[in-house]
């Protein structure tokens, strides 16, 4: 599909989260051709699931929208959603890449009018909200999704109802028979930006996530707090939808722990501080407790820590809780030792949020190419070469660092293109 000259100026970016988006637009705005591959039906990655950014408490959608605007306005970027890299061969400056394009079952004629979704009667667990609510089997992931073209769940596509929906679409965009296809491209260099998955909190058995209804995770809490989340932003106890009067956040739930993730996930301290502000906004009198080992508000984020610390309704307990029990009213009971007083505690809450960390996606979806070094945790180690890791493929990082990292990766990818390997 690409001629030799173009291929030499083409950069493949794998992953459409904030790191990959950044790498793609920055490279394209220099003047290079970019192919951006994303496995989900829309771009935005984990950032799009966040309610607000720390420290400004602004909406990540704003930051994403400007990047989408940059993509819309730049004909040098070719976006493939629902796509995954299958194989990479060749060498720096000249890679052959097979990209699997999974069916969307809705073609590009889709105008986003929403008639199909309205007509559809099948509902499925909403993966965008971590299954906390149901959505139509044909839909857009969220109202700001880019591209705004709809998609259909693969299992639903096989049903009779899916076939019936074909007639609902006024422009003939629905194709339940769509098949996966492979696209072969030739590129000069590859930016690997496949990001992270929230650590599976069920593995942290002492904390009872999955067994206790009112123990949740920080990423679920982001969705619960979002106006586009399962409760339209109302923060309530999962078991009975009651108001949250007394809530605890547990830091390092899985991180800095040899039993789970030995590294520090970097963002969770700030994320919990931010989430404490969500609670405060809805419940001026709520009691908030943050259990921590070290408060890691690096560099300029310190100001945010100080701001949140000014809230007298937040207790800070230097302690990694030992375990969580549950009482008969399904209140979680947090048990441990306050290391600054030496006192053991047993505290009952309405709800507990586990600040789970980041598991690099490179551990489960390895870079399908030879010679890419990874560390003991599965993070990519950049050691030269035409496949360049960025963002949370390299280390657990915040948005600003991802942007920094994505911009740097764009330059390394361009250099590979310039030098021809």
């Amino acid at each position: 599909m690409t001629d030799g000259n173009t291929a030499r100026r083409t950069i493949l970016v794998v992953g459409g989260g904030i790191s990959g988006l950044t790498a793609a637009v920055e490279a394209a705005e220099v003047g290079y051709e970019v192919i951006l591959v994303e496995k989900e039906p829309q771009l935005g990655g984990r950032v799009s699931q966040h309610n607000k950014y720390f420290p400004k408490l602004c909406s990540p959608t704003c930051g994403l929208e400007i990047n989408f605007q940059r993509i819309r306005n730049n004909s040098r970027i070719q976006v493939y959603t629902l796509a995954e890299v299958e194989t990479i061969s060749g060498t720096a400056g000249n890679y052959q890449v097979a990209i699997r394009r999974n069916p969307r079952f809705v073609n590009e004629k889709c105008t986003g009018c929403g008639d199909c979704s309205q007509a559809c009667t099948t509902e499925v667990d909403n993966p965008f909200n971590f299954g906390l609510n149901k959505v139509k089997a044909i839909r857009n992931a969220h109202v700001m999704a880019y591209p705004s073209q709809y998609f259909m769940d693969p299992l639903f596509a096989k049903t009779d109802e899916a076939k019936k929906l074909v007639k609902i679409c006024p422009v003939g965009a629905i194709e339940p028979d769509q098949q996966a296809m492979t696209l072969n491209v030739q590129v000069a260099s590859i930016v690997w930006a496949t990001g992270w998955t929230p650590y599976n909190a069920e593995k942290i058995r002492p904390y009872g996530f999955g067994r206790y209804a009112n123990v949740t995770t920080n990423m679920r809490f982001e969705r619960m707090s979002s106006v586009h989340g399962p409760n339209q932003g109302a923060i309530v106890r999962p078991s009975d939808n009651k108001e949250v009067r007394n809530i605890a956040f547990i830091q390092c739930a899985g991180s800095r722990d040899h039993n789970y993730l030995p590294f520090c996930s970097r963002i969770c301290c700030l994320a919990s501080m931010k989430q404490a502000t969500y609670v405060r906004e809805q419940y001026p009198d709520a009691k908030i407790t943050i259990y921590y080992i070290d408060l890691r508000a690096m560099d300029r984020y310190e100001a945010f820590l100080q701001k949140v610390m000014a809230d007298p309704g937040i207790r800070w307990i230097k302690s990694k809780p030992s375990r969580i029990d549950e009482d008969k009213e399904l209140n979680p009971i947090v048990i441990g030792e306050d290391t600054l007083t030496g006192q053991r505690y047993q505290e009952t809450y309405d709800m507990v949020v586990l600040a789970t960390g980041m598991e690099p996606n490179c551990t489960t979806e390895k870079v399908p190419a030879a010679g890419v070094e990874v560390d003991a945790y599965g993070f990519v180690v950049n050691a030269g070469g035409g496949i360049i890791g960025t963002g949370c493929s390299l280390s657990p990082v915040d948005v600003a660092t991802s942007v920094q990292s994505g911009t740097a990766a764009a330059l390394k990818a361009i250099q590979t293109a310039v030098k021809g390997g």
């Binding site: 602004c58 929208e65 105008t111 929403g114 590294f263 996930s265 560099d299 600054l340 911009t407 250099q415």
Partner: protein, 735 residues
């Protein structure tokens, strides 16, 4: 070339059912007198697009007005190869956002009126729109100036050079390497994240000095920087000698200065020669012998006081990010030299993010002792050395340690001169004869970079970390944010990209962030200027200089195309080819204002196109319903809002004006930093205008809209409409 406008009205997605499309065609044809108007039932489909393309190739259509859906969708389909393209939003605004019950003729009529007005405004806009001519100058340079020859600066220069561009590296001292050159070793940056790494400075400096694409100026400073991206003329002063270079963009990588330890008496500074800073400790380790400075005896017991002057409201309020890791590194130096070393890390919070947790563990494994607490007292010990009293928070007691050295991990102060952006100093005041500024910009808004907070010179440190408020000038490394060596090198690589991107964009005549690729830029009708200086003062990016008489001297390549100058100008002398005071004024005047007794008010909404407009789209998609009496005009930025439009709206007969902009203040979200803030300041003066017109000041209101506020918009808009409806109708309707 003669402009020939083709207008295409889509009837798909329910537009045809909701609206009288033929009536719309008639307005475009008869009333607006467009030469070619067509309707189509599926305009974004292959046949629809083909229809337009065909007209462009066969009928000479070179300007296209699409009346269909939001300009934020179907962009690829409508990439038609002409810059004269505008889109009238019928679907989201005039169909989805309105509540029309079956058989409600009034509501249907209101809806049709909104669609017609939207179309009228689009027609006027496309008529007034001219193709932007990209700014070009034959003397554009693509070379890049890098200021600072430390790790960040050297990395930036090398990355630029390796990409095929020429880098000019200016270093104040006689050698490259900066702060890191004074260090013994560096912290681990690669697996297993446990071992000290050799100092990378020598190897990097050799590469830099030997690179064909890099010119190094040592013992040199920047005497003066004049011009603009692509056209920066930089005077490099080397002793008495001054040389001139022209560069396209600039990276400031001037690093940091350790926080002044003399201010840290409370941590024992000055008590004994054995209280030293981490930099002094580096130099000692590099020299070979870790000893007590007081008597030269081996220093086997060393305490490191973290956050020395950082995270302290009396000193540096921020965390200096790297001190935890470099103190851990220094603890290993002691261990390297003395097998029986005792090292103590006195900390508040250990901050070893990511894989650096492994390094923390390594130092513990090597016997490093971590004490959470504050230094209470430092005294000279009985057998020499020091006695350090610590409030040990984990033991809940005051403990005294006997050590040979106390190392204060002093934080980082950025080595860059900044200026309070709210009070930019005028030209000439701050730039004295003595060179103490990094770039000595000859900018009307001062020689320094505007600061965001704490002397750091950026603008959007989360989303767009490299952007300063001086176009084409980027910062890298600790000059822009406290960071360690590995982070600085990544940061420098990114800054190199931004600098390259800037020179390439300038060469194309295109804007950089946030309107990347925009080819338009404002022109100044100088003869109309009254030298009020509003434009030169208000430009968030300092794009406009002044001549001696106070006339604006515009630098197109410094411009980010936000239009703030246009909004500021009371004389309406500043216009873009495709965006002007006249254009928006003409659009709003084209709206049909019903008779006063029709009880149908008209409310004008100016919506920032970055956040408010997408929120309006989202509202429509989610089924939010708003009053049919509003007419929405998107603006590039609320900063481009000219008060004349409010007067125009009032005199045209609009009953109210609602301004929707981004959050401003400390945690501002405005893409153009000051746009929405300036709009608010201007608005404070609007009551004057209203008074002159003898109108209530409540008729004009500004609201902060976040992109996720779609659910709030119906409430905000409808309650404003309701408020306006309580007022008498605008008496100017009759005129």
């Amino acid at each position: 070339m003669e402009k020939k406008i083709g207008c295409y009205i889509c009837s798909g997605c329910g537009i045809g059912e909701a609206l009288d499309v033929d009536a719309l065609v008639k307005i475009a044809t008869k009333e607006q007198k467009l030469p070619l108007v067509k309707k189509h039932e599926f305009l974004c489909g292959p046949e629809g697009v083909e229809l337009i393309r065909n007209d462009m190739s066969t009928s000479g259509v070179n300007a296209v007005l699409l009346a269909a859906c939001s300009p934020r969708v179907k962009v690829d389909e409508f990439r038609l190869g002409t810059s004269l393209l505008d889109r009238v939003n019928l679907r989201e605004q005039a169909v989805w956002s309105l509540e029309v019950k079956e058989g409600d003729d009034t509501a249907e009529e209101d809806r049709q009126m909104m669609a017609e007005d939207n179309l009228r405004m689009g027609c006027v806009k496309i008529k007034k729109m001219n193709p932007p001519e990209p700014f070009q100058d034959p003397s554009f340079s693509k070379d890049i100036l890098v200021v600072g020859g430390g790790m960040a600066g050297m990395t930036t220069a090398l990355e630029i050079a390796e990409t095929g561009y020429k880098a000019i590296l200016v270093e104040q001292s006689g050698q490259l390497g900066g702060m890191v050159a004074r260090m013994h070793k560096v912290s681990p940056s690669k697996p297993p994240y446990q071992h000290l790494q050799e100092n990378p400075v020598a190897a990097l400096a050799a590469k830099v000095e030997g690179h064909a694409n890099i010119v190094v100026h040592k013992n040199a400073t920047i005497a003066k920087t004049i011009g603009a991206p692509g056209l920066f003329d930089v005077s490099i002063q080397n002793g008495g000698h001054v040389s001139q270079v022209r560069v396209g963009s600039i990276v400031v990588a001037t690093g940091f200065t350790p926080y002044d330890a003399s201010k840290l008496d409370h941590l024992g500074q000055g008590t004994s020669p054995d209280v030293i800073t981490s930099l002094e400790f580096e130099e000692m380790a590099k020299a070979g012998q870790i000893v007590r400075k007081s008597d030269g005896k081996p220093a086997k017991r060393v305490a490191f006081s973290l956050c020395a002057g950082s995270r302290d409201k009396n000193h540096l309020e921020y965390c200096s990010a790297a001190c935890c890791t470099y103190s851990l590194k220094q603890a290993l130096y002691v261990k390297e030299q003395y097998a029986d070393a005792s090292t103590y890390i006195l900390y508040q919070e250990i901050r070893t993010p990511g894989q650096m947790e492994d390094f923390y563990r390594k130092v513990q494994d090597e016997g490093g002792i971590f004490i959470k607490g504050d230094i209470q007292k430092v005294a000279v010990g009985t057998a020499g050395g020091l006695s350090v009293q610590v409030n040990d928070k984990l033991l809940r007691s005051s403990e005294t340690l006997a050590v040979d050295l106390l190392v204060l991990a002093t934080g980082m102060k950025p080595n860059v001169d900044t200026v309070d952006p709210n009070n930019p100093s005028p030209v000439g005041v701050a730039a004295g004869a003595e060179v103490k500024h990094v770039l000595n910009l000859e900018y009307r808004q001062g020689p320094s970079l505007p600061e965001l907070k704490w002397g750091f010179p950026d603008s959007h440190f989360i989303c767009f970390p490299y952007e300063t408020r001086r176009t084409g000038i980027y910062t890298a490394g600790p000059a822009r944010r406290p960071m360690g060596i590995a982070a600085s090198m990544t940061d420098a690589t990114g800054a190199a990209l931004k600098a390259i991107q800037a020179v390439e964009s300038v060469a194309r005549g295109a804007a950089v962030h946030p309107r990347a690729g925009d080819l338009s830029y404002p022109s100044f009708r100088q003869e109309g200027c009254t030298q009020c200086k509003r434009c030169t003062e208000e430009c968030p990016f300092g794009a406009i200089n002044e001549d001696a008489k106070g006339n604006p001297l515009f630098n197109p390549t410094r411009c980010r195309r936000c239009g703030t100058c246009m909004g500021a100008c009371p004389q309406k002398i500043i216009s873009f080819a495709n965006y002007s005071v006249d254009m928006i004024g003409a659009m709003l005047k084209e709206v049909e204002i019903p008779e006063e007794d029709a009880e149908k008010p008209r409310i004008l909404i100016f919506a920032c196109e970055n956040d408010s407009y997408p929120a309006l789209d989202a509202m429509a998609r989610e089924g939010g319903k708003i009053s049919p009496y509003v007419r929405i005009i998107p603006l590039r930025c609320l900063g481009s809002m000219n008060l004349v439009w409010i007067a125009d709206a009032m005199s045209t007969g609009f009953d109210g004006v609602l301004l929707m902009g981004c959050r401003h203040g400390e945690d501002y979200q405005c893409h153009n930093v000051r746009g929405s803030a300036l709009a608010e300041i201007r608005l404070s003066k609007v009551s004057e205008t209203l008074n002159r017109l003898q109108l209530e000041s409540d008729r004009v209101k500004m609201v902060e809209i976040n992109i996720m506020d779609s659910h709030k918009l119906p409430g905000i808009i409808n309650s404003f409409v309701a408020e306006i409806q309580k007022l008498p109708a605008n008496p100017y309707k009759e005129f």
